[in-house]
């Protein structure tokens, strides 16, 4: 079987979660040919498929208006949202949700009316969903079905993109490692969309797919684009902790909370959220940053649950109420030996989402001509803390805009294969040797523990400096340890490539976190516990040679 080493299309979309699939569909709708590439299977990895419930959207028939959604998004962002990006998310949300409805996603409805759930941080019930705990899989499946109907979109899995191709400062495609054959592949494109998601795999406890470690951030940075708000990593406060479950997403308790409230209790079975400036009282109103803070602080004070988190109890609910809220999930819990009417479960914060990302304008264009970004890969819309339900809305809205913008750019810039640009990356991939006594999978776990401990929900100057030192040391070790490409499904090489990405992206998070000497939203400094009005601005990162350059940007209007 001869492998096609050189592919070309008008638009290249990297990553096939919600944002990438939508971008591909929109670019094709604009009449462009598309390559949709993913490092694993198309539409299976990423964060979209993992989303269990809410999609925030201001629907007129629910007595809502995008202005209200916008106000809540800005408030959640603690003063750092990019107003144009947030506005776009809220204004375009309804159109995307209705298009998904027309495509048969199956939003929960009563008769013809959307069912809207209340979520923390919203001024009214604003979140649509697909039962039961099925929002993400339904969205992915619906978009996959649409993709299958469009012959102009070539879907290619097992492509790990390792570099963007640049010519005269513009992005003209990408180079990739084809994992299943081990061969380098060139992807020429008139315009390229990064839809690679966030970076939560940098952390030991995370709720995301193994393919989300900030690939898009590292690619964009190396190509000359800027990153923004990299210090803001959202920890989902009630990730499942114990008892051990198999086949369940750790953020599975969110839908139960939306529907039934539930009670958050400390190790002494007392309510405690009210001690940290919010309230619980059996209703799901506490925002993510405050809940994370409260659970970690309560455990640190010796009042945690047995595994170091908090109890989440639905014991006051009847079996019928639980069945109505969870449907078949109740049976999956029973198979894991859990009866929620008789026992509380333990929860603790888990890395869930990244507010920061590639800096783009409202057309999803980076400062590199021909390079666009969409979805969680983009920074700006959510500021210092994301409002629940905005992630999927952002994926669909920004994906659509990026697809349109990339199509427009590609109309004026035809893809032109450039053998020399690809040649250099191909040579780099094929270089290397077998290194004994080096386990990249172990190094990856070390990095995840380092990020969790020193660059996690609570940070200090000393810890961040330790993290930066270690990340930079790991990074300098990597070149001598490189395995050569050429072997089918070489997981050690994939880990090595991921380590290059993760050390760089981890450094971005730690450097921005070290510079921000205050606590705001998802960024909490133990040594600077208060929010400082002087810090009401964003930080941007770019690359100068191999060194990071950090600068503060103008405060949002």
């Amino acid at each position: 079987m001869a492998l096609a080493q050189h592919l070309a299309a008008d638009v290249l979309v990297i990553g096939s979660g919600g944002a990438g699939m939508y971008a591909a569909l929109e670019a094709a709708r604009q009449g462009r040919s598309v390559i949709l590439a993913d490092r694993s299977l198309i539409g299976r990895g990423g964060a979209t498929v993992m989303a269990q419930m809410t999609v925030a959207v201001a629907l007129e028939e629910c007595g809502d208006h995008p202005d209200h959604h916008y106000a809540d998004t800005l408030a959640a962002g603690r003063g750092l949202c990019d107003p144009a990006m947030a506005r776009l998310l809220c204004d375009e949300g309804p159109a995307r949700i209705r298009e998904m409805d027309a495509w048969g996603v199956g939003w929960a409805k009563e008769g013809d009316r959307f069912k809207c759930a209340f979520a923390p941080g919203h001024d009214r019930a604003r979140c649509v969903y697909v039962d039961f705990l099925n929002t993400g899989p339904a969205v992915s499946k619906t978009l996959r079905a649409q993709l299958n109907r469009v012959p102009e979109i070539r879907r290619v899995g097992d492509l790990l993109v390792t570099a963007l191709q640049l010519r005269e400062g513009a992005c003209v495609g990408a180079s990739a490692l084809h994992l299943s054959s081990g061969e380098p592949v060139s992807l020429a494109a008139g315009a390229t969309v990064l839809a690679t998601g966030g970076l939560t795999r940098l952390y030991r406890r995370n709720s995301a797919s193994a393919n989300m470690m900030g690939d898009g951030y590292a690619l964009a940075l190396a190509a000359g684009a800027e990153l923004i708000d990299m210090e803001f990593v959202q920890f989902f406060p009630i990730g499942h902790l114990a008892p051990r479950l198999v086949g369940m997403d750790p953020i599975m308790w969110d839908p139960f909370r939306y529907k039934l409230g539930g009670r958050l209790l400390n190790g002494r079975r007392e309510e405690f959220i009210h001690r940290y400036g919010s309230k619980d009282e059996g209703r799901y109103v506490v925002t993510r940053d405050i809940a994370t803070y409260a659970i970690v602080k309560e455990a640190a004070a010796g009042r945690g649950s047995p595994h170091g988190g908090a109890w989440l109890s639905f014991e006051h609910c009847t079996a019928a109420e639980l069945r109505a809220a969870g449907g078949p999930v109740i049976d999956r819990l029973a198979a894991n030996g859990i009866d929620l009417t008789k026992q509380a479960i333990e929860v603790a914060p888990i890395a869930h989402y990244h507010m920061g990302g590639v800096r783009v304008d409202a057309a999803m264009a980076t400062r590199v001509p021909g390079l666009y970004a969409a979805g969680e890969a983009v920074g700006g819309a959510n500021g210092a803390n994301r409002l629940s339900g905005n992630a999927l809305t952002e994926a669909l809205v920004f994906g659509c805009v990026a697809g349109k913008s990339a199509a427009k750019h590609a109309r004026r810039h035809a893809s032109r294969a450039d053998a020399s640009v690809f040649g250099a990356e191909k040579k780099r991939l094929l270089q290397g040797r077998a290194v004994r006594d080096f386990n990249p999978a172990a190094m990856l776990e070390e990095l995840q523990a380092l990020m969790q401990d020193e660059v996690g929900p609570f940070r200090t100057q000393a810890g961040l400096e330790r993290a930066l030192g270690r990340l930079r040391a790991l990074r300098t070790e990597l070149p001598a340890l490189k395995p050569a490409a050429g072997t089918a499904y070489d997981t050690a090489l994939a880990d090595w490539l991921d380590l290059g990405t993760m050390t760089r992206v981890g450094e971005c998070v730690a450097a921005a976190a070290l510079a921000r000497t205050e606590s705001r939203g998802a960024h909490q400094r133990e040594d600077f516990p208060a929010m400082d009005p002087q810090w009401a601005f964003n930080q941007a990162l770019s690359l100068e040679g191999d060194a990071l350059r950090l600068e503060s940007s103008a405060a949002p209007a």
Binding site: A2, R44, S180, A210, P243, V246, M248, A441
Partner: protein, 111 residues
């Protein structure tokens, strides 16, 4: 208290001689076979090829393998004491170790 599972895994790629490796894997009750495979990669042999994305949520449906002759998701099977045999899917093209070509034909590069 942790228990130990013995995982016997079919290794190799097309054209290579068939071989088997066996590893002792410590586990806490409730852990999945995927947890055991990831433990082996980080602590014994990083070249063991497995495919997964979502890591134990059973969302991505990528970790399908053969365990004791039954086709299952590695993230849904629990580790247990004694010996467990793990093979790649028999009806799919083998890529390496436990990884087979499970993508739809029109989502592959060539072939």
């Amino acid at each position: 208290m942790s228990a130990t599972a013995t995982l016997v895994i079919r290794r190799g790629a097309p054209g290579e001689p068939r071989r088997e490796d066996a590893w002792e894997v410590p586990f806490e009750p409730g852990q999945s076979v995927l947890d055991g495979l990831r433990w082996i990669r980080a602590r014994r042999d990083p070249t063991l090829a497995i495919r997964y994305s979502c890591t134990n949520a059973n969302s991505c449906k990528e970790c399908m393998v053969r365990i004791e002759g039954k086709t299952v998701y590695a993230c849904m099977e629990r580790l247990r004491e004694g010996t467990t045999r793990i093979d790649p899917l028999p009806n799919k093209k083998l890529l390496r170790d436990l990884v087979t070509e499970i993508a739809p034909p029109d989502e592959r590069l060539g072939g």
